[in-house]
Subunit: 262 residues, 2 copies
DNA sequence: CATATTGGTGCGATATATGAACAAATATCA
DNA sequence: TGATATTTGTTCATATATCGCACCAATATG
């Protein structure tokens, strides 16, 4: 990439948008400047630009995003065949088994939800397209990691913060790699309350006609209701059916995002 | 706003992201240039910047967005109290009545979904946070328009393309304004297959403790299953209950986006 | 009340946008 | 098919706009 083919102001502006999150819904210029590492003057110009375009609001002191920024994320969901292709299958699957079904792709050390059909909620946070979870302790993350060459999976795990989210969480790179081997052999991953107490899930890969990984598919359930050990028997047939139905429909170009290791 | 407080490159880059949509998932430089009105050289620089940052991919010919752009839209959903406040109530409401429940805000001539709890799908398109529908023919749009001063509502309608989406669609500004008056009096809006055949819905406003409009709330159902005429009797009590539960929780600052009339 | 922090401003150095020119690829037509 | 026209992607020079710094004013903090 040539130096002259890069619009610095654009990159900085995107950084500013991403500086907003649950912990910091309303931000001051100085706060943004500190979070992004941008100069205060630059952060201010980006924020005022966002306000001018209607993507943010400013009450004189704090800035906050407006619903208009949803246009941006929605541009992906609307433009990309993959989520739209998968969604109806998720709806049907979710209704058939009476549990939530989701699809996600790997991005860096996290999985990003690209489609979801929710049933009664069992997780503490509500997931939706765009939501992110750490790959190493989510069922879809496990199958996606297992699909990578082991050195790559290991590299991603090394970059992850493997802290225990529950007493059941595997917290070492080797433990997760071992589990990924088993996942690769059996063709699915089961998570038993490693991400959140009371939650278990089962995931499989979605591959295209040429066997290339397009996304992951899962079903989540309440652990008290459906013990993890029973999940393969209960849900694997349905997951396999969706997997088979989607295989010929997935286009090779829909493959994972391969974001730079920034 | 001072000329020097605007980052042109940022604004142009955002235009480029929004140029991607369902009709045009993969775009060439020339296509983007034509859509946005930017010079080919400028469009190219923005696209290469997106690729460099991992928000887009480039196969030598076409550009397409990656799931990473979902981070941007999600920044709003994660950072703003309103959707997170409403979501659990939608989940409960949706489960109680066995139909899909959604919340949206007005943005320009459209409503933007900010939260949703889906049941079995009755619409042809799948809605999710970030999805947009024309305000004038959606139940939530009607209550939001009805809440505006009539001149403002009229101005928005004048800017809308009021074409018939079904044989039942109201297609004149005056007809919609009349309906808005009735909506304002009765405190809810019912749409009977004006947006899509077989789909009807009922909506109410969500207001904060001081009576200011925060969002709209609706329940949608299959028209063959639940005739529109029965919706108020069936669903209004539940909607009113959620409305009342949320009123003290909504903060005045969460109010609608007020995007510039660009 | 003194001090630290924040928001806003002006300016020079530097990076970007622009439109034309060129090259490569693609389409069109005899 | 082969020659020509058209479209597209890329490069370049230069006018222009942005960046980051230093500085000032206003506000918060102790």
């Amino acid at each position: 990439m040539k130096q002259t083919d890069f619009v610095g102001g654009f990159a900085k502006g995107l950084q500013v948008i991403e500086a907003f999150n649950a912990a910091t819904p309303k931000l001051t210029i100085t706060h943004i400047s500190a979070t992004t590492g941008l100069d205060r003057a630059t952060a201010r110009r980006c924020l005022l630009t966002l306000v001018e375009l209607g993507y943010a609001r400013h009450d004189g002191k704090h800035f906050e995003l407006t619903p208009k920024v949803l246009r941006l994320g929605h541009a992906y969901l609307a433009a990309t065949p993959l989520p739209r292709l998968i969604q109806p299958h998720l709806d049907a699957l979710s209704e058939e088994v009476g549990q939530s079904a989701s699809a996600s792709v790997l991005e860096g050390t996290e999985i990003v939800y690209i489609a979801r059909a929710a049933q009664k909620r069992v997780m503490s946070i509500s997931l939706m397209p765009g939501s992110r979870l750490p790959a190493w302790c989510a069922s879809m993350g496990r199958v996606l990691l297992a699909a990578l060459p082991e050195v790559e999976a290991r590299a991603i795990l090394e970059r992850s913060q493997l802290h225990a989210l529950t007493p059941f969480t595997r917290t070492t790179v080797d433990a997760v790699i071992d589990e990924c081997r088993r996942v690769r052999e059996q063709g699915y991953a089961v998570i038993d309350q490693e991400l959140e107490l009371g939650l278990c899930s089962i995931a499989v890969l979605l591959v295209d006609a040429r066997g290339r990984v397009a996304a992951a598919l899962n079903i989540g359930a309440s652990a008290s209701q459906i013990p993890a050990a029973q999940m393969p028997a209960l849900y694997l047939p349905a997951l396999r059916r969706v997997q088979a139905a989607l295989r010929p429909l997935l286009h090779p170009a829909d493959i994972r995002s391969d974001s730079p290791t920034a």
